[in-house]
Amino acid sequence: MTAIANALLIAWNRNADYGNKLVADLSAEQMILQPGHDAGPGMNHPAWILSHLNAYHAPLIAMLGGEEFPDPKDHPFGMQSKPQADASIYASKEELVAAWQQGHDDVALHVAAATEASLAQPLKLERWKKPFPTVIDALPYVMISHESTHLGQLSAWRRVQGLPSV
């Protein structure tokens, strides 16, 4: 494994653990609570955040395999979606957490197996080709920074619920 892939994997695994901790003590009802929704855009709730982040596992695996993949923005929980108060549109907390962990494990396996050649492959998604010409260009953002941003939102959401930091 390349040094950079190893460094990204460390951050990825840490995010997996962090994400688990951020939702571990939440009830099903809390998963869709959206503070401030009445007065403004509202905060992203845990169910949307996990659903949204879980949508990126398959694209990451496809990317690492040099394969084409559907644009994540078109996913039902992609970036064009908004958190909803209807719990029925989301998987249960248990299902979301299981998908979160499994997805992290699956991506980690593919990152660990990546070679310099596979990381140098061009991306197949037209929309990402300009900002991320190759797989290694995309990984720090798609794998780490994007996910960390949403986990940061979740950590702030916890404080508004009166929950402690993790």
């Binding site: 390349t2 040094a3 950079i4 190893n6 460094a7 990204l8 460390i10 951050a11 840490r14 995010n15 503070p35 401030g36 007065a39 403004g40 855009p41 509202g42 905060m43 992203n44 990381l119 900002p131 290694i136 260009d137 995309a138 990984l139 720090p140 953002y141 780490i144 920074s145 994007h146 960390s148 941003t149 949403h150 986990l151 940061g152 939102q153 979740l154 950590s155 702030a156 959401w157 404080r159 508004v160 619920q161 009166g162």
Partner: protein, 166 residues
């Protein structure tokens, strides 16, 4: 391959700038209260903390002079607590410049530092079990650490009734 980390780091700076848009000077230390609970991390602390982390800790990791200002560690370090006393923080414009300067300082060093330095053991014993090498640690500082806090800032914006940065 370092270019991909640097590109993500540069994106973080751009994102920080977008997140600061529309925030008035006298809002920089506001801790919004939703449902009786506050979001503790406000913009002044977040931006200052990121500048302090890169300019101080990041510089040390890369073997270059720290650009951390005297007194910053106490009010902006990892164990500091955000205060609503605006007088202890630089103003918004100064904080934004500190972050930009820290980014510039670290970016140049990260591009030039040799692989042997990045492969050295993490000098911080309590962090070494998770981030064994300097390369692992600085990658985390430049990616996940920054965007986790920027995610908190994006959630802060929502709690303040401000629109999304994008």
């Amino acid at each position: 391959m370092r270019k991909s980390i640097l590109n993500t780091y540069a994106f973080n700076l751009m994102y920080a700038g977008k997140l600061l848009e529309g925030i008035a000077d006298d809002q920089m230390t506001t801790q919004p209260d939703l449902d009786g609970h506050k979001i503790p991390n406000h913009p002044a602390w977040i931006i200052g903390h990121l500048a302090n982390t890169s300019g101080g800790f990041g510089s040390t990791l890369l073997g270059i002079d720290s650009i951390q200002a005297e007194g910053d560690q106490e009010i902006l370090g990892g164990t500091s607590t955000p205060s609503t006393d605006a007088s202890i923080y630089p103003d918004k414009q100064t904080l934004a410049k500190k972050l930009a300067d820290a980014h510039d300082h670290i970016s140049k060093a990260f591009l030039e530092v040799d692989d042997a330095r990045l492969a050295e053991p993490n000098p911080v014993d309590r962090l070494a079990p998770v981030f064994p090498t300097i390369g692992d640690m600085i990658t985390f500082v430049m990616t996940s650490h920054e965007t986790t806090h920027l995610g908190q800032l994006s959630a802060w914006r929502r709690a303040m009734g401000l629109p999304s940065a994008f």
